[in-house]
């Protein structure tokens, strides 16, 4: 009985750990009932070995990538830069989360990359295309 209770409590703790790793947008979908939960059993040692092969960017690297992207002047420059960085899908997800983007684990690598480009470069290009030369003068100053 004692072992059974301990096993159940360990199980629940592992489930809680996994739920903790879900990003905010997926958690919203789960809470709304649009997503469900499926339990798969796997060999932990193989998973850990797989993760060890992927180098995920740390905070400093994420900040640097973001700064560089925000200075770029075309989407193509941004795409080239991200390709050269050689980030895995999980790395791109990390970057997207750092940028507070609504991405999901089942999004394709291209879609995640496009969202990153739009949120760092695309929106500036759109704004400049619309505002044009009027952006350099005029009333965007804040009232105090």
């Amino acid at each position: 009985m004692k072992n059974y209770k301990k096993a159940v409590s360990n199980c629940l703790r592992k489930i809680a750990d996994q739920i903790d790793r879900i990003d905010a947008s997926e958690l919203e979908e789960l809470a709304k009932g649009n997503f469900g939960i499926r339990i798969e059993f796997s060999n932990n040692k193989d998973k850990l070995k797989e993760k060890g092969l992927q180098k995920l960017p740390n905070n400093e690297e994420l900040n640097t990538i973001e700064s560089v992207l925000r200075e770029m002047e075309s989407r193509e420059q941004g795409e080239t830069f991200l390709n050269e960085k050689g980030l895995s899908k999980e790395g791109l997800l990390y970057l997207a989360k750092h940028l507070d983007l609504p991405v999901q684990k089942h999004d394709s690598k291209k879609l995640i990359s496009d969202k990153i480009i739009e949120t760092t470069i695309g929106y500036r290009l759109r704004s400049h295309a619309i505002q044009g030369s009027s952006k350099d003068s005029g009333i965007t100053k804040q009232s105090t």
Partner: protein, 309 residues
């Protein structure tokens, strides 16, 4: 006294809701507010009086359209003669500030066409003079109100950039931009700023003619974008809309930190009772949370406008 235009090209973003609730909460805080409804849809008007009351007491000769028509005909008509105090909201405000209104009329849609016919001229100088005369109509009309009577005059503009809207901008010290946090709305903000910059440039270029006081140059400031209809999860905007809020900030456009939360239940029928959501009390925490959000926005507005004590 400050004059604030509430404006966005896009319809349905909550301009009228923002204007009505902002005015009501400011009045609750003991300020005296004048609302001017320049939208032919008259939504702001119908947020405070019923269509039946409007038809019987105002539509014939006591709307902003009546005033524009009279001025175009060269007849004397004081804008201040149109001001009235809607009963329901002022009953609620008893002992605090006041909220007055100049109502609109569907026929205001024709005023733009009529004003357009007054533009142009036989010479460049005459064309410039007519441009200024047409676009200064409202600011001249506001001279009939006493600066001491109101702390804020708030103008609810239609979702376009026609001559009536431009009259509002010329008359304003400040611009407030309600917007929904989505892709098309954020493009609309860029369009609006471009149009505002062009109007200010054209207007101020034209005042460099002989018989116009150079002090009449306009210089409205953008108070900021206030995001509306914001869906929340975990006490912050949902992840799908946060990028649009962040992108607008990153474009160096002033953005209010607080926002108007979405709640169809309380916003959909509030105009029917003539008292905005901001000054009604609600028993559920969700509904009260919407009111709290409006109050935070109004506090920020007070600071930006320099209204606080």
């Amino acid at each position: 006294m400050s004059v604030v235009s509430v404006i966005n090209y896009k319809g349905g973003v909550g301009k009228t809701t923002v204007a009505a609730n902002l005015a009501a909460e400011l009045a609750w805080r003991n300020f005296n507010i004048l609302l001017i409804d320049l939208d032919p849809q008259a939504s702001l008007t119908f947020s405070f009086i019923t269509p039946e009351q409007w038809k019987s007491d105002f539509s014939e000769s006591k709307t902003i359209k009546s005033w524009f028509d009279a001025i175009s005909r060269g007849e004397p008509f004081e804008l201040s003669d149109l001001i009235f105090s809607p009963a329901n909201v002022n009953n609620k405000l008893r002992g605090k500030g006041s909220l007055d209104l100049i109502p609109s009329h569907l026929g205001l849609i024709n005023v733009d066409l009529e004003l357009a016919t007054e533009l142009g001229g036989a010479s460049i100088k005459q064309a410039k003079q007519n441009y200024l005369k047409v676009h200064r109509r409202l600011i001249k009309g506001l001279e009939s109100t006493d600066d001491e009577d109101y702390d804020v005059i708030m103008i609810d503009c239609p979702p376009n950039f026609n001559i009536v809207t431009k009259n509002a901008i010329v008359a304003s010290d400040n611009i407030l931009i309600p917007a929904k946090p989505d892709y098309l709305s954020t493009l609309g903000i860029d369009y609006l700023i471009r149009s505002l910059n062009q109007l200010v440039k054209d207007y101020n270029d034209f005042i460099n003619i002989d018989d116009v006081d150079k002090d009449d140059a306009i210089d409205p400031s953008i108070l900021g974008v206030v995001f509306t209809m914001v869906q929340e999860y975990g006490e912050r905007p949902i992840s799908a809309i946060r990028p649009f809020i962040t992108q607008t900030r990153n474009l160096d456009i002033p953005v209010f930190d607080s926002y108007i939360k979405e709640n169809k239940t309380i916003f959909s029928d509030s105009p029917q009772y003539g008292v905005p959501v901001a000054i009604r009390s609600y028993s559920t925490s969700t509904h009260q949370g919407v009111v709290d959000g409006i109050e935070e926005f109004v506090s920020e507005f007070e600071v930006k406008l320099g209204l606080e004590d």
